[in-house]
């Protein structure tokens, strides 16, 4: 447990993805079975036991320490698990007996079978046996709040690296595996065969597109491509298959392979034909696709209430078919898969699942026109939910990852405004010596004339050279400092204008300006423009009117 705790501790501080991977892979190599398997389970959220409530932890510490001292400490540290881990006074008896600290395996397997009434005593024993970091990790684990910035995908990628395997391979067999993954590690270390995925509805690694640049078109022949709308929803894979007894199992996966079926139970009954659909998750109301803002309100919900399901009816728009019953279609050219898909959707005949239409075009000029005006190019009333067009080679097989020259995405032009830099904050990790997080504002009428109101924050979009320039500007034009935040000069005649690109706007009562941007980034530095010529809030409000209003649930 202490070694696992040490790993979590280090990961919690490490900002870089590659360095996190190194730490994880190092751990999987160094630590044996079954501990590393349970660690992998903990990191991928595959452990299942009833979590302890914070009240139980409070009771435990109250029985060991002075209430005032605990209060002052908790106040200072700000995190219950950490406070308890740090101030836990070991029992006298434990100090003498010195029992070895529990292994991660011991903790996980005990927790799985432990009755509720036995939990406090067991936790107390472990807290006595572990060191500070061990106690911290134990409490995070039992309360189900690891939160150390590691995705399941990253943990699997690190495990794959143990055997120099492609993470996709691990992803493919993952649904058939269970903790402590002895067979997985045996295969990764060359001691065993590759585990077989017996899952009736497995995830297939997704194929992704490259962003197309203007210069790419010259080398492409329109006749080689099929175009379709790029819908502004969530890319998913909907898979149904028969288990050994012939019953249908249906699952919905995110593009990273995360099982998100639980969040969309209303779609499951529609997945009754064995097959694997690549598509976009959308909200449809009276046949009309709603904006991403609306869809967003169905995401990351702990409880999916009947009311939520009713007011946010889920819909799957199909792009591609990867498997039809027992047949793997991924080797077929896209044009043929598209025919399979059309037949499949027709056979299914379900109002919740439809086909994403293709966009016909004879030349790049025609496609350019369609992209500029999707409403009159077939998207009709759903045009607002079109994010751009996708170009897929007719002869492209379905390849995992982002293969070159097969699929292209051509997004609609982003919205652009000129805003004024107001505050700058230091970045993290590699950027910790740079002011790289920027809050920017636009003009609005205030009591004493025009004033700037913050409308967003951005921390990318600029080149390394531009970052140096902005950093220098921030350091030379700071008017006040609040901790890590610098107040940068922003007067009508003095300041830095940033051209900000963004994908959409949302009303937001949480922001003073009343608006929130989607995916804002710095697209250009306008050294040439005095701040007084930057945009006004009214411009953003006009854009908002085009977006549907937010609906309360």
């Amino acid at each position: 447990m202490n070694r696992f705790a040490e790993l979590l501790d280090r990961l919690a501080y490490e900002p870089g993805r590659n360095n996190k991977l190194r730490l994880l892979t190092g751990y999987f190599r160094e630590v044996g079975d079954p501990d590393r398997g349970y660690a992998l389970a903990a990191l991928t959220g595959a452990l299942s036991f009833k979590h302890a409530k914070p009240a139980l932890i409070r009771d435990l510490i109250a029985s060991r320490t002075d209430e005032v001292l605990f209060g002052l400490s908790y106040d200072y540290v700000g995190d219950l698990s950490e406070t308890v881990a740090l101030m836990w006074p070991k029992a006298e008896l434990a100090a003498h007996n010195n029992p070895p600290p529990p292994t991660l395996t011991e903790v996980v397997t005990t927790l799985r079978t432990l009755g509720k009434t036995e939990l406090p005593k067991q936790l107390e024993r472990w807290l006595d046996e572990l060191d500070e970091t061990g106690r911290w990790a134990l409490l995070k684990l039992v309360t189900g709040a690891l939160r150390i910035g590691i995705s399941a995908r990253l943990a699997k990628t690190a495990a794959a690296a143990v055997g120099d395997k492609d993470p996709h391979e691990v992803e493919l067999i993952w649904p058939g595996l269970s903790p402590p993954y002895l067979d997985l590690f045996a295969w990764l270390e060359g001691r065993g065969d590759k585990p077989v995925n017996r899952d009736p509805a497995p995830f297939r690694p997704v194929m992704l597109a490259h962003a197309i640049e203007d210069s790419d078109f010259a080398a492409l022949d329109p006749a080689d491509y099929i175009a379709e709308w790029k819908w502004d929803g969530i890319r998913v894979q909907a898979v149904a298959g028969r288990d050994e007894r012939g019953h249908i199992t249906a699952r919905l996966y995110s593009r990273t392979g995360e099982d998100i079926t639980g969040s969309f139970p209303d779609l499951v009954p529609s997945l009754r034909l064995p097959g694997a659909i690549d598509g976009e998750l959308l909200i449809l109301r009276e046949g009309r696709v709603q904006s991403f803002n609306v869809l967003q309100q169905r995401l990351n919900r702990k409880v999916v209430s009947p009311k939520l399901i009713k007011e946010f009816p889920i819909h799957l728009r199909a792009y591609d078919l990867l498997g039809d019953d027992e047949n793997d279609l991924r080797e077929l050219p896209f044009a043929e898969r598209r025919e399979h898909l059309e037949r499949f959707i027709g056979k299914l005949g379900d109002p919740r699942i439809d086909l994403s239409p293709t966009v016909s075009f004879g030349s790049w000029e025609a496609l350019t026109a369609a992209r500029a005006d999707p409403a009159s190019a077939g998207a009709g009333e759903d045009a607002d939910a079109v994010e751009g067009v996708m170009l897929k080679r007719c002869d492209a097989p379905y390849l995992p990852g982002r293969p070159k020259g097969q699929w292209w995405k051509w997004k609609r032009d982003p919205h652009i405004i000129d805003a004024v830099l107001m505050y700058a904050q230091r970045g993290h990790g590699k950027r910790s010596s740079y002011y790289s997080d920027y809050t920017f504002g636009v003009w609005t009428a205030g009591e004493g004339g025009d004033e700037l109101v913050p409308v967003g924050k951005a921390y990318f979009g600029f080149t390394d050279e531009e970052l140096l320039q902005i950093d220098r500007f921030v350091r030379r034009n700071t008017t006040e400092k609040f901790g890590p935040v610098r107040h940068v000069v922003h007067e009508p005649e003095q300041g830095l204008v940033l051209e900000v690109a963004f994908e959409g706007l949302q009303r937001s009562p949480r922001h003073k300006s009343g608006v929130a941007m989607r995916f804002p980034r710095i697209s250009r530095l306008r050294w040439d423009k005095p701040p007084k010529e930057a945009d006004r809030l009214e411009t953003l409000e006009r854009m908002l009117k085009a977006e549907p209003a937010e609906i309360d649930v």
Partner: protein, 313 residues
């Protein structure tokens, strides 16, 4: 009477200063020749009479030359601890327990969440990270007086014998430690060293420099910070520290409470830090305790001399 050379305890401009030779030397290094009207050096254990009052300096184990000051008049003895630690430190004389009637204790880490553990284990953590990331530079933030030299010495004791690099702001004081017979191995100024040559090396710098422009001369630096504050995660994260090293020159909670008990003092005055919790603890043990609020004396970290000129260079 000055307990030790940190700037939140030793200030220039006094008429007459009584301190250990090391403390006087450090004040001279930091503030120049004329830092006081007159100075007088005192050895540990030496007694000086000032009228009816006897004064004695005892090792505090905090940094080189640090002292607790015992003042006795008739049959009452008051000990001012200054900053102290009861943990081993190869760069200074170990803490000596001085029985007294009134003990004025510091309380920098006066909360039961502060328990420092073995500094050697923290240095192992640093070395493990250097082994794991040989292409990155390791930048260790450490107070330039005391902590930096202790970390270097601990690295040497752990068997690390490669050159250790220093930020310009710690060169003088480190040389002073060496001149007092503390072996620190090969040390090099980091200034002027090529970026690529710093891969796999360890550099010590004042804490404020580790998040500054100055860090850009290092290849993908891992930022470490050696301080008792690193025990608390939020504190480490706030500073953008990636490798917190819990190495403190102050007594931790267990050290404070054990020392207070062992002095046998019936009156405890608590200052410099988290007074509330320690006063509460004393009272719960039947000791008379009160916070001693000193205005204008704070964290030594905040009073580190600015290093802007070096940083911009």
């Amino acid at each position: 009477m000055i307990t030790h050379g940190h700037s939140d305890h030793a200030r220039p401009g006094h008429g007459a200063v009584l301190a250990t030779q090391e403390t006087l030397d450090m004040m001279r290094l930091r503030y120049g020749e004329n830092f006081a009207g007159s100075t007088q050096a005192i050895r540990y254990g030496e007694e000086i009479r000032l009228g009816d009052v006897k004064v004695k300096f005892h090792p505090a184990g905090h940094v080189l030359g640090s002292a607790q000051i015992a003042v006795t008049c008739k049959d009452i003895c008051i000990v001012a601890s200054g900053d102290y630690k009861d943990a081993p430190d190869p760069t200074c004389t170990p803490f000596e327990l001085v029985p007294c009637d009134v003990f004025i204790t510091e309380a920098t880490f006066g909360l039961p969440v502060f328990r420092h553990g073995d500094a050697a284990d923290e240095v192992k953590k640093l070395l493990a990270s250097v082994a794991l990331f040989p292409e990155r530079a390791h930048l260790v933030g450490a107070y330039s007086l005391g902590k930096a030299q202790r970390v270097i010495k601990l690295l040497r004791q752990a068997g690390y014998d490669a050159p250790i690099y220093l930020h310009g702001a710690m060169e003088k004081i480190t040389e002073y430690y060496q001149s007092r017979g503390i072996e620190l191995g090969e040390l090099r100024p980091v200034k002027g060293v090529k970026k690529a040559a710093l891969a796999g090396t360890i550099t010590l710098a004042p804490p404020s420099a580790t998040s500054d422009l100055w860090t850009r001369r290092f290849p993908d630096p891992v930022t470490a910070f050696a301080s008792g504050w690193m025990r608390v995660r939020a504190r480490a994260r706030q500073r953008g520290v990636e490798l917190p090293l819990v190495i403190s020159d102050h007594a931790d909670w267990d050290g404070l409470t054990a020392t207070i008990g062992a002095t046998g003092a019936g009156g405890i005055w608590v200052t410099h830090g988290q007074e509330d919790a320690l006063v509460h603890w004393c009272r719960s043990k039947g000791l008379k305790a009160q916070p001693l609020d000193l205005v204008g004396y704070g964290d030594e970290e905040e009073s580190e001399t600015p290093i802007q000129s070096e940083a911009e260079a």
